[in-house]
Amino acid sequence: MTNVLTIEQLSYKHNLKTILENVDLTLETGKIVGLLGENGAGKTTLMRLITGSAKGSGTITVCGDRAVAHQKSNVSFTEQLKGFRANTKIDRIVDFYRAVYPDFNGQRFEELVTFLQIDTSLRLGALSKGMKEKVVIALTLARQTHLYLLDEPFSGIDSMSRKRIISSIIKWKPDDATMIISDHYVSEIAPILDEIVVVKDHTIYTHRQSDEIREEFGLGIEAYYESLYEGGVNHD
């Protein structure tokens, strides 16, 4: 199996405070990976470093490429609506995407819009939190690329929307693409995760297969994750 992402000796400081230190991480293609950690642990920062939105030291290779522009074309990240004003219509944002991302698949987007029940004639400022997240998910998944970064796609979302989003992830993630989903609320997405990566103490504390955790420790993902903070489980 080939690797979609290789991170070596990545460190990042913000205002002289260490956020991440000596991060090494390799992810294979075709996986769904849960990125877990407390609020402020550096999950979002790690994603931002992968996209080049934040600048750290160390090397990040996406699909064997280190050139920034190529990396960007291989990554679809959920943080992208900040540049639009509140009165922008969703349709117009879609036009922007269609124009700017050559891998944006209009048909996939239409399917996602139907499935997630999105009304694209609304304005950005008029969307509820759940609807906004659905729009972001639809835009992110409509691109056909190799690495998807979903930053806390479920925070503050009602359970029906959450279920729809999870289903759309299973339905539309390309087989040869890897998806990283960050969350601090694990139980809902646990069944869809191939592996988990825990960010703790400024680095990757654990990187394990989910079913391996269940087999080896007889623990649920959530219980295992919590045990890391209580020091209950011996890990390597």
Partner: protein, 124 residues
């Protein structure tokens, strides 16, 4: 379907499919849903479904036909065997639990008998 997060998901998917086969929802020779569809229906990862199906193909309970999909085996012996295996697994669990409560084999038998009789009465 609701999963127990403590048990490997691929194992639970297998059990789910076994259950479908035992109850007849999936008869011998029936086509299984496509991998992605199964993943969506069960809200699990495609890779995990693939692993479960892979193991079932190896053990011969389902057969993969290139380009057509996966089918429940036509081999009724294999299905009967599977059923026996599942029954034994369940019995083993109950036996071990009761044994752990310091019940002798005799006591286990009688308590099971009384239990079944009582349930029978409740149902009348």
């Amino acid at each position: 379907m609701k999963f127990d997060d403590k048990v490997p998901i691929y194992y639970q998917i297998k059990n789910y499919l076994y259950h479908e086969m035992m109850t007849g929802t999936l008869g011998p020779g029936d086509k299984l849903p496509a991998v992605r569809q199964l993943a969506v229906d069960l809200t699990v990862n495609v890779n995990t479904v693939q692993r479960a199906l892979g193991e079932m193909i190896t053990e011969g309970t389902i057969e993969s036909q290139r380009g057509k999909g996966n089918f429940v085996t036509m081999d009724t012996n294999r299905i009967t065997q599977l059923k026996e295996q599942l029954v034994i697994e369940q019995l083993e669990r109950v036996y071990n639990e009761l044994h752990a409560l310091n019940l002798t084999d005799e006591q286990i038998l009688t308590s099971l008998q009384t239990y079944i009789e009582r349930r029978g009465q409740q149902h009348d």
